[in-house]
């Protein structure tokens, strides 16, 4: 029953406000996290075996009537579902303690679940218009979640995010409509089939440009990144973790990849455009991150830069490049989720996000400092953590494909990444303890637990990279190399 990925979070979200009337905190915590835990366990155990016989398409019957409730799952989809479920569960656990002072927990979990359902639905859908619908579901929930604090900065960031995001959706929908008008179909298979027989290079190029702009905005690739460094830091920390760890990847990278690989087919020109856009993102955002004083803004710029790496690997289109890109997607989802959660712990303990004011927090918050170090080193690509292997794969793939310039850019930018993460660690956690933070305490249990779990996963990705690559990444990359 892969339809559960969509139905269960929605159903729980629908009853949560009623539950919230009975019990303000405990029951929403329990229900929200149980739902996400169930989906994670189901992904790791049940769904994997379903795929043994190849891609899966499920149709539902409704009281004996045949209706078209079609969901499909293949290696790529399953891999993305795993990433979504992992990070959202960690975020859910973290929220138990963190969201205390925001109030209205039932409403918060309902929005979080709707956003997760939107992402799951996007991953499972087989048709262009459904991609648009679930994009909007996740987006509408995320506008409210970014503004959840209801302070000036949150509202401003959310409004800017909404404006740009709506333009992105419009561009995507226009491209979908033109494809629909040309081929008469909306499902991936029908559109791909139709485009094969049509001499429509020019129109496909226009549609590709629209998709690139729309999904590029959603994925915050430079030059479409302006909203992200506002929106992600302003959100509550767990939401920053979901947005940076998951939403930009699912509604940006995943949808873009699906459409370009499974419908249009990756042409050399498109591949070049994708790779160079990505390379510009990697470098520009890394330099911008260097100059940040706000810990969450630095992390947000780092997200733009790392999404660049992911698109660089995927845009290359070789099997190795795809594997590297997808592996980096998973590594970055976990590590950046972890880092944003840690920034939340620090902010809650000290009340500031300014790196200059911090210092020496490692002595007061050893768990936060330790897990943060793990996450930072993974994103920066230090062996033996996951991020190292995925960046290595991307760089090897670039060299193999004869893209020497891009490979050099990727290597140099990873040095830059290491640099700004060391600045972050040094300013926030090491050095002399600032007198102001003498009485700072370690984060509460659930917050610490969520970060420890994510840190262990990040370390596990590094040590077990061969088996992760074989069981999860390879099937996903195969789907993309095969086309459709």
């Amino acid at each position: 029953m892969i339809f559960l990925y969509l139905a269960l979070p929605l159903a729980v979200a629908a009853v949560l406000p009623l539950v919230g009337k009975v019990s303000k905190k405990t029951l929403p915590d329990l229900l929200g996290n149980a739902t996400m835990a169930f989906l994670l366990v189901y992904t790791a155990t049940g769904a994997k075996s379903l795929l043994a016989g190849g891609p899966l398409v499920q149709r539902l019957d409704w009281f004996g009537e045949t209706v078209n409730l079609q969901v499909a799952l293949d290696g790529f989809g399953l891999f993305m579902l795993l990433a979504v479920q992992l990070v959202s569960l960690a975020v859910g656990l973290f929220s138990i303690d963190y969201m205390e002072h925001y109030g209205a927990k039932a409403n918060y979990y309902a929005l979080l679940l709707v956003m997760v359902a939107g992402m799951n639905g996007l991953i499972l859908s087989t048709d262009l218009f459904n991609i648009y619908i679930f994009l909007e579901v996740a987006a509408v929930a995320s506008y409210a979640l970014v503004a959840y604090g209801l302070e000036h900065d949150e509202l401003e960031a959310s409004f800017k995010y909404l404006m740009l995001s709506v333009v992105a959706s419009a561009a995507i929908l226009v491209a979908v409509a033109v494809l629909f008008g040309m081929t008469g179909g909306l499902s991936f298979a029908a559109v791909a089939e139709g485009l094969k027989t049509l001499p429509a290079r020019g129109v496909v190029a226009v549609c590709s440009a629209l998709f690139l702009m729309g999904f590029g905005l959603k994925a915050a690739l430079v030059p479409f990144h302006a909203w992200l460094p506002d929106a992600h830091p302003s959100a509550p920390a767990p939401i920053s973790a979901v947005l940076s760890g998951l939403l930009i990847k699912v509604s940006g990278v995943y949808a873009l990849t699906r459409i370009f690989f499974n419908i249009f087919g990756l042409t050399p020109a498109l591949s070049q455009v994708l790779m160079w856009t990505a390379a510009v993102s990697v470098v520009v955002a890394a330099f911008l991150a260097l100059g940040q004083k706000d810990i969450k803004r630095m992390l947000a710029y780092s997200s733009v830069s790392q999404v660049g790496y992911i698109v660089l690997g995927i845009g290359l289109g070789t099997p190795l490049g795809l594997a590297g890109g997808l592996f980096h997607l998973l590594n970055h989802a976990l590590a950046k989720g972890l880092l944003f959660l840690n920034s939340g712990s620090v902010q809650q303990a000290t009340g500031t996000r300014d790196l200059e004011e911090m210092g020496g927090l490692a002595r007061r918050m050893p768990v936060t400092a330790g897990t943060s170090l793990v996450g930072a080193l993974s994103v920066a690509g230090v062996p033996p953590l996951g991020g190292f292997w995925s960046k290595l794969l991307i760089i090897i793939a670039l060299v193999q494909a004869g893209e020497g310039v891009l490979a050099v850019i990727a290597v140099l930018a990873s040095v830059l990444t290491l640099w700004y993460y060391l600045i972050l660690q040094r300013k926030a956690f090491f050095g002399k303890l600032n007198e102001r933070w003498r009485d700072v305490r370690e984060a509460p249990f659930w917050m610490a637990a969520a970060t420890v779990v994510l840190a262990l996963l990040v370390i596990g990705m590094g040590i077990l990279f061969a088996s992760v690559l074989r069981t999860w990444i390879q099937p996903a990359a195969d789907v993309l190399t095969r086309g459709f």
């Binding site: 218009f129 619908i133 909007e136 509408v140 506008y143 409210a144 503004a147 209801l150 302070e151 000036h152 900065d153 509202l155 401003e156 960031a157 959310s158 409004f159 800017k160 909404l162 404006m163 709506v166 333009v167 419009a170 929908l173 226009v174 409509a177 033109v178 629909f180 008008g181 008469g184 909306l186 302006a226 460094p229 506002d230 302003s234």
Partner: protein, 102 residues
């Protein structure tokens, strides 16, 4: 049929561009959102005329209905945001929203 589709696309493109013009130049938050509504009109016109041109208006019609439902959810969220913003800044001016650096 194709000619009629081209005419519709031409007018829809005009709507989208007019909306984007408003989005880029206006200072009033509500005006900005009216710009987005105009873009949305253009998009729904493209969507329906695509189906119309193919003689497949039924599917296009159901897409437009779904699109309108999504639009309502979006408008409700955006207007709630705008009301919250004016409570904080005491103004509808988008220039008051410049604390974050982008």
């Amino acid at each position: 049929m194709t000619d009629a589709w081209i005419v519709s696309i031409a007018f829809a493109a005009a709507l989208v561009v007019v909306g984007l013009y408003g989005l880029l130049t206006m200072r009033n938050l509500i005006k900005l959102f009216i710009g987005i509504e105009v873009v949305a009109k253009g998009v729904s016109l493209i969507l329906l005329s695509a189906g119309w041109a193919r003689g497949n208006v039924l599917v296009a019609q159901s897409l437009v209905v779904t699109f309108i439902v999504i639009e309502v959810a979006l408008v409700a969220t955006a207007l709630a945001l705008i009301i919250n913003i004016t409570r904080k800044t005491k103004s509808l001016d988008v220039r008051k929203l410049a604390r974050l650096k982008g």
